[in-house]
């Protein structure tokens, strides 16, 4: 086994054994972090691998979450597998439709237009009664995971949710790695590096970008479904622009376009948040100041820092 897999596997083992500690609060916190990590991985497909800086990714996350909330009857459970599939599908279709519009633009325009469309989704849920308006909606009974009469896990038990989310995170990670190594993924990297050249080579660039945008939307929907299933509650804040900014921050701080960056970013940012908010009520001030300083003095994010440290320790500037 190549040495570069050692650290991530050790981390995975640590995370897998963590619930044995029995610290329920931290098990639930880690579950939430892993959900955000899936969300961040989906965004990195756009930001890091295709070069599309989307500032409105929370829309699809929220659509996934609302799909579960709307499918759950008042006093009964929604089926896990059907609602999960539907959440992914609905989020992907929303991304496809929005993608047709936003992918006509590029650069600064793209950032603004994705943000504006996400805001439109926010207002749909905030202003109308579709999903309970600004109060949101409860998932009164957690989804039912039974397949053909057999129930592998129970969404009312935090430890079960933890392992379901961990499994999903690993699956999404492996799936994305597979996608990025496929000819499709290589084409996306080509588009990021030089779109003109790819077009000249005869690649249908728009179709590739749209496929990436749709895929990223679907995976964000998956993460949103998990969030609704874990917390049992959805409200419009899930698709607010803060959420889009937050996940973008995770991707960038962790290192966009690196395999583990978005996951590291999700852990780092959420744990920093926890740490700062126990120390001070004005943690946002310190977060903001840290962000500004990082951009000014440490371009490339945490991943870049790790690489630089590693390069100076072990020699050789090998890319992760």
């Amino acid at each position: 086994m190549p040495r570069r897999h050692l650290a991530p596997l050790a981390a995975l083992l640590l995370v897998a054994l963590f619930p044995l500690s029995g610290a329920t609060f931290y098990v639930e916190l880690t579950t939430k972090i892993m959900i955000m990590a899936i969300f961040a991985l989906s965004l990195d497909l756009l930001v890091g691998w295709t070069g599309l800086v989307s500032f409105g990714h929370a829309a699809y996350f929220g659509v996934g979450a609302y799909t579960l909330a709307l499918l759950s009857p008042k006093a009964a459970a929604a089926g896990m597998w059907s609602s999960l599939a539907l959440a992914i599908a609905v989020a992907a279709v929303c991304a496809l439709v929005v993608g047709i519009f936003v992918l006509r633009t590029r650069g600064i325009y793209f950032i603004m237009v994705t943000l504006a469309f996400a805001q439109m989704f926010y207002f749909v849920f905030h202003d109308t009664d579709v999903g309970g308006g600004s109060d949101g909606r409860y998932v009164n009974v957690k989804p039912d995971a039974s397949i053909l009469g057999f129930t592998p896990f129970d969404f009312d038990r935090p430890v079960h949710v933890y392992y379901v989310v961990l499994a999903m995170l690993v699956l999404v990670f492996l799936f994305l790695q597979r996608v990025l190594r496929s000819p499709f993924g290589r084409a996306l990297s080509g588009i990021r590096a030089n779109e003109q050249r790819m077009r000249a080579l005869g690649f249908p660039v728009m179709a590739y970008k749209l496929a990436a945008f749709t895929l990223a939307g679907g995976l964000a929907g998956l993460a949103g479904w998990l969030l609704a299933a874990q917390s049992g509650f959805v409200n419009p804040e899930i698709l607010s622009w803060h959420q889009s900014g937050n996940v973008l921050l995770m991707v960038i701080l962790g290192g966009a376009g690196t395999p583990y960056g978005p996951i590291a970013g999700a852990f780092a940012l959420t744990l920093l948040h926890e740490l700062f908010s126990t120390l001070t009520t004005h943690w946002q001030l310190w977060l903001g100041i840290s962000i500004v300083l990082i951009v000014l003095f440490m371009p490339g994010g945490l991943g870049h820092l790790v690489r630089r440290v590693r390069a100076s320790l072990f020699g050789g500037g090998r890319d992760v």
Binding site: I108, I111, A116, M120, F123, T128, L285, G288, I289
Partner: protein
């Protein structure tokens, strides 16, 4: 009929106010190539300055003069300390840094004045209403707002079309590098444009404070609508921003009249339609 007239006046007033914020945003985009998420914060800062300074001095007019001076200083400082380091960075880092600035400004606001909603009294000279038709009235202050905005738009027209600085701004918007090569002090132009943008946004906030009240998060709402304005009008085009602002003012105001539940969405649908028709915006030469 007079209901229609009132809504039209409201649309005009809202559109012109948006123009003040969006024109600075579009100039900063167009000339400096920077996406500034914190631009809405300047609007928020303006509104809170109107609140704090008018309580302190007892006059909104004095507060506005002081506020504009302070926001010019703030703009010059921010450009010098932060934004001047961003010109050669990619959009991602600009997004990140300006997002950090939003957090800082919001938190400083909460430290300084708390999270309550505040009202700013309408100046007594403009406190009345004028009759429109037989039964309707319209507040004078809103008319004054529109007139002031129009005056500023005219002033910007003169500045951009008739002065040497305006010439540099126009040249910078179409080809930044070339202007620098021709010996213009581009950095100075950038700094002035940025300060102008900050002052315009802050002034819009001060002007709006008496009618919209002053509340946390007010900057972000305006920011996102201004993005829509810039997208519709075309990046870097001040006149595009004016046309788009008025269009958005109409769409939002009449959206609220005819489809109250979906008014929040009307503006974005307008944007989607324009994106399909002219992805580069209405006033941008492709």
């Amino acid at each position: 009929m007079s209901v229609f007239a009132i809504q039209l006046l409201n649309a005009l007033q809202y559109g012109l106010l948006l123009f003040l914020v969006a024109s600075g945003l579009t100039l900063i985009f167009g000339i400096m190539g920077i996406i500034n998420l914190a631009h809405g914060s300047f609007y928020m800062i303006g509104a809170y300055m109107a609140f704090a300074l008018s309580t302190l001095t007892g006059s909104l007019a004095v507060a506005m003069v002081l506020g504009v001076a302070l926001s010019v200083v703030l703009g010059l400082f921010l450009e010098w300390a932060l934004f001047s380091h961003l010109y050669r960075r990619d959009h991602l880092e600009q997004v990140l840094l300006t997002y950090g600035l939003i957090l800082i400004f919001e938190e400083l606001r909460s430290l300084a004045v708390g999270n309550d909603v505040h009202g700013v009294p309408v100046p007594s000279a403009f406190g009345g209403s004028i009759a429109l038709g037989d039964t309707m009235t319209y507040p004078v202050y809103r008319l004054v707002m529109s007139v002031v905005c129009l005056a500023i738009a005219a002033g910007m027209y003169l500045l951009i079309q008739r002065t040497r600085l305006g010439m540099m701004i126009r040249a910078g918007a179409s080809n930044r590098e070339m202007v620098g090569v021709l010996g213009v002090n581009v950095n100075l132009v950038f700094r002035l444009v940025f300060a102008l943008g900050v002052a315009l946004a802050a002034f819009a906030g001060m002007l709006a404070a008496p009618v919209s009240s002053v509340y946390p998060g007010m900057g972000q709402q305006v920011l996102i609508i201004c993005f829509v304005v810039v997208v519709i009008g075309g990046i870097g085009s001040v006149w595009g921003a004016l046309a788009a602002s008025l269009l958005i003012g109409l769409a939002d105001t009449f959206g609220k009249v005819f489809f109250p539940d979906y008014a929040g969405i009307a503006v974005y649908l307008l944007m989607a339609a324009i994106l399909l028709w002219r992805p580069e915006g209405l006033f941008r030469r492709a």
